[in-house]
């Protein structure tokens, strides 16, 4: 398991000639989290929240200013080399591969650096090329690859050492939808096979789909954690129920108004484009069932009922203090 305890990372300020050093930047501030094997854990936050810095500390590319990080009990500072054998990092974008080498050669190069057993390396490379859909382009130089192909190769590079823990920093950035979907399937399979995955992504639907547990950070601090469902429920953001009726009836309107008042919901009543009565209720609780029952009991006929629950994205924005999301 990867465990961070009170992790803090401050970047020193810039040193200018004949001037005092500028102020430092606190990127991660007292972060404690656990990434178990065999599960996908999410790390979310807005831009500049400290996600990438935290991931790079776990990957041994950065050194913590204070606090501790252990991977299966090994400290990231004292046992960096042993940890590098167990982990890998895949960052979004098309970097981290060599443009003048072919896809196969890139994987061979990194396989050599990871000292992947020689007999297994060839098979491993073929498996990975197949996994990321680059078999046909395996012997083409990377400078002729499209952006998405480079990114897929970068993903294969991140898997070359069969890492026990995989750190994914926006891995689907710039990928076409089908490829991103395939990658999500790969990540889910890796977790099923026992790999511990830490995922940051701006595509929160991806996080909701893959992660059993999510940490939310803001300005380097942990602000919430839990399952995506629990996080969404915990913010008490409104469910929106939109109801379109066949005709106006005072009894039905009264029933909806009574329900809204009792539940403390915001109610908007207007008409749709075709002049049919429409009610929109916003409440922390899902009132769809209750409002449908009330309308039917009052003799109304429902033409359309749409429920929009709050998303993880709304929850993250609300936690980050976005006033629009909070409304």
């Amino acid at each position: 398991m990867i465990v961070t305890h009170e992790l803090r990372k401050e970047f020193p300020g810039q040193q200018k000639l004949f001037r005092p050093r500028g102020p430092g930047t606190l990127a991660v501030d007292g972060l404690s989290l656990s990434i178990p094997p065999g599960a996908v854990t999410g790390l979310l936050g807005l831009n500049g929240a400290g996600k990438t810095t935290a991931i790079k500390v776990l990957a041994t590319l950065l050194r913590p200013t204070s606090g501790s990080v252990t991977v299966d009990g090994l400290d990231v500072v004292g046992n960096a080399r042993a940890i590098r054998r167990r982990i890998n990092l895949i960052a979004g974008g098309e970097r981290m591969v060599y443009a003048r080498l072919t896809g196969r050669e890139n994987l061979w190069y990194f396989g050599q650096l990871y000292d992947v057993p020689r007999a297994a390396l060839r098979t491993r490379i073929d498996e990975l090329l197949d996994l990321v859909g680059l078999v046909a382009a395996a012997d083409t130089v990377v400078e002729r690859y499209s952006r998405g192909m480079r990114q897929r190769l970068s993903i294969a590079r991140g898997l070359i050492n069969k890492p026990a823990y995989l750190l994914l920093d926006e891995p689907t950035l710039g990928l076409d939808a089908p490829i991103a979907r395939d990658l999500r399937a790969v990540v889910a399979n890796l977790a099923r096979d026992g790999v511990g995955v830490l995922l940051t992504s701006h595509y929160l639907a991806e996080v909701e789909q893959l992660c059993g547990h999510v940490y939310v950070i803001d300005h380097g601090r942990l602000v919430a954690e839990g399952s995506p469902t629990a996080l969404t429920a915990g913010t008490r953001l409104p469910h929106t129920v939109e109801l379109t009726l066949s005709e106006t009836a005072p009894a039905v309107s009264a029933a909806v108004e009574t329900l809204a008042a009792r539940a403390g919901a915001d109610l908007t009543a207007d008409a749709d484009a075709e002049g049919r009565p429409r009610f929109v209720l916003r409440s922390p609780d899902d009132l769809a069932g209750e409002v449908a029952t009330a309308v039917v009991r009052a003799g109304g006929a429902i033409l359309r009922l749409e429920v929009t629950p709050p998303t993880l994205e709304d929850a993250i924005l609300a936690m980050a203090g976005d006033p629009v999301a909070a409304r």
Partner: protein, 273 residues
């Protein structure tokens, strides 16, 4: 040990693809050193034709030997400058993100910089090296005390060059603003190392600076072993100095790698470009 050899194999492939990416590489591998040699020869020729020059430097009375002297300089310079170029390219790995990818791996950092330098050296210098030895043999300017001196000359060129390359790699890998070193180590290296002129013709202060560069002593050994028929005993002092200088460069490389990686981990500079 096996892991280190695998790093060497990986870097060899990378350097091969980088250097042989275009057919124009043959220009830089052979024609460029030959043009540089011709420029040096015809620049020196009018000066050395004076009677005063012949008195101070008798070798210039024989154009064939003068050319061999300059060719040995160009050969050694090609070796050492190819490592400056390689280190400069190594610093580009920061931009492409591959420097971070390399540092994610458990590969020994020392093995990485040594492998990078030696792979670049072999890829860059083999053609001109073969050409120079063949030309020297054919023209009769090769004057060996015994055949084993060829091996000593090769080692005196290769070992310090690899140490020099590793040192430069470690220096440039952690520096974003490395272009000045490229300029600093081009023409000034020619000058202070005695590539075009014999060391005795240089001012004392230039000679003192030149001693800090392994190219200077490598050249003394190379010329002594290949052109002047000197044996290992004659060159023992220079060889010992070269060994000490190479060892010092490797120690400094290890220190720089350690300090540099720690600095990068503290500041996040591996990703800055």
């Amino acid at each position: 040990m096996m892991a280190t050899l695998r790093v060497f194999a990986a870097e060899s492939l990378k350097q091969h693809r980088r250097i042989f990416g275009s057919k124009l590489v043959l220009f830089s591998m052979l024609l460029w050193p030959l043009l540089t040699l011709a420029t040096a020869y015809y620049t020196v020729l009018p000066v050395v034709e004076s009677p005063e020059a012949v008195r101070r430097w008798p070798l210039v009375a024989e154009p064939g030997r003068l050319l061999a002297f300059l060719a040995a300089g160009a050969l050694a310079y090609t070796f050492f400058f190819s490592l400056v170029q390689s280190a400069w390219h190594f610093s580009f790995e920061r931009v492409s993100g591959t420097l971070e990818a390399m540092f994610l791996t458990p590969a020994s950092r020392m093995a990485l910089v040594l492998a990078n330098g030696s792979a670049a050296l072999v890829q860059n210098a083999w053609l001109f090296g073969c050409f120079a030895v063949a030309a020297a043999s054919a023209s009769g300017t090769l004057h060996l005390a015994h055949p084993g001196m060829l091996v000593i000359a090769a080692l005196a060129l290769l070992v310090p060059a690899v140490a020099w390359g590793a040192f430069l790699n470690s220096l440039l890998m952690f520096s974003r603003d490395s272009a000045f070193l490229y300029t600093l180590l081009d023409d000034p290296l020619w000058f202070v190392a005695g590539v075009r002129l014999p060391l005795f013709a240089l001012p004392v202060w230039v000679k003192a600076i030149g001693l800090a560069f392994p190219l200077t002593t490598s050249l003394v050994v190379l010329r002594g072993a290949l052109l002047d028929g000197r044996d290992a005993g004659d060159l023992a002092g220079h060889l010992a100095f070269l060994a000490a200088l190479s060892a010092a460069l490797l120690c400094l490389t290890a220190l720089l790698l350690r300090v540099g990686e720690r600095h990068a981990q503290r500041t996040g500079s591996l990703q800055l470009f």
